[in-house]
Symmetry: C2
Subunit: 248 residues, 2 copies
Amino acid sequence: MTMIGPYSFEDYLQAVESFHGSVAPGLLVGGFMVDLAMKRMPEGALLNAISETHACLPDAIQLLTPCTVGNSRLKIINFGRFALSIYEKDSGEGVRVFMDAGRLESWPTIRAWLFKLKPKAEQNRERLLAEIREAGQRLCRVQPIRVDRQHLHKKNKGRISSCIECGEPYPLQDGPICLACQGATVYVSIPDRQQGRSMHLILVKPQHPGRTSRGLVGNCGMCGEPYPESDGPVCHACQGESVRVIRD
Amino acid sequence: MTMIGPYSFEDYLQAVESFHGSVAPGLLVGGFMVDLAMKRMPEGALLNAISETHACLPDAIQLLTPCTVGNSRLKIINFGRFALSIYEKDSGEGVRVFMDAGRLESWPTIRAWLFKLKPKAEQNRERLLAEIREAGQRLCRVQPIRVDRQHLHKKNKGRISSCIECGEPYPLQDGPICLACQGATVYVSIPDRQQGRSMHLILVKPQHPGRTSRGLVGNCGMCGEPYPESDGPVCHACQGESVRVIRD
């Protein structure tokens, strides 16, 4: 029976669908790759992982190993290659698994997918998944690697302080104010209803009108109007609403 | 009963332990934050997410929303703040949830943890988890946000080609050779056994001696010795071994 990590092939498909949202080809290839890597590693070792791409592969790693982005044991370092490494946390020694393009002659549908030779709408998805299942680990190659010592250890965030601009905790090593207040934001500035505009999305920058304890009256984070903070993070009216945008 | 997304509090702890590896305080706070955000979003909307930190929060998002790093619906943009946004994929409209440091007066153990006022060994873990459970969403504030249009859509990788250095598929827009071959690597260069050294970890750079079909004799990716490629990605001998490093 084809196994991927602890899963039967069918159970792995279910796990992928539930976590990733769809049975993406990259998760199938990735499953075989992670399985191959994990079998090369000593049992009981504390393992870390690197994905050399953002696409799909990180989810196969997160499903099949103890390494996740949130526990800092999976790093995504975008070299644009569909490859991953699993290695011992302290020594950096382990294996790299990559797709061997030279072996794709016998798997034309996989080749067309990997090299994006056809638009997605023209790809035969069933055939692609069947080819991946048939090819399995024969698509992959394994290399021993050692990860450079400077990439092995988590950087310490150092002291945490409240940003004097937005009031939120941030690592002091980022500067006198947090990175977001230094301008590194992804949010657009939106006029505040409190400033007399009829646009109802409020400013991105959090407002901290000197409140230091619960039980005080503050401005609702949703509509901007005063309310008793003991009601929760937004006022009762807004607790009943989903996001609503009313334009000018 | 305290619920976090679809989970009872106890089931959420189990899900966290299984995915993240431990019941980290950041996953508990994060669970309340994600739950708060998701309740503000319209049902059935196609949602994307941003985590403003690498630490813990991405895993709460991946557990409780359809957004993962591998399906590109979760982006981690490190502003160093313990905050997240959930927003509609196309409009960018949604909510940001952050921890309100001004509300931590009543929760000294949470405050000490968030601001790292005590070394980890001196923290009272049980008390910390109990405080987080008690405080729940009262720790958080919600802001409506709109994500800047330029950050909304996935960048297309464009054409994929085989790198003429390493032979692996890579996005042609990265340059004439892939980023790794341009020098952007995390691996140290290791002497190759085939070059007569007794160090048994082989070169990181993949070797592609002109093989274009299966069934040929190639060099084993593990020990570097010639073997029939039909045996699999590594030779039979190496299929029975875990990673073994023999030094000079």
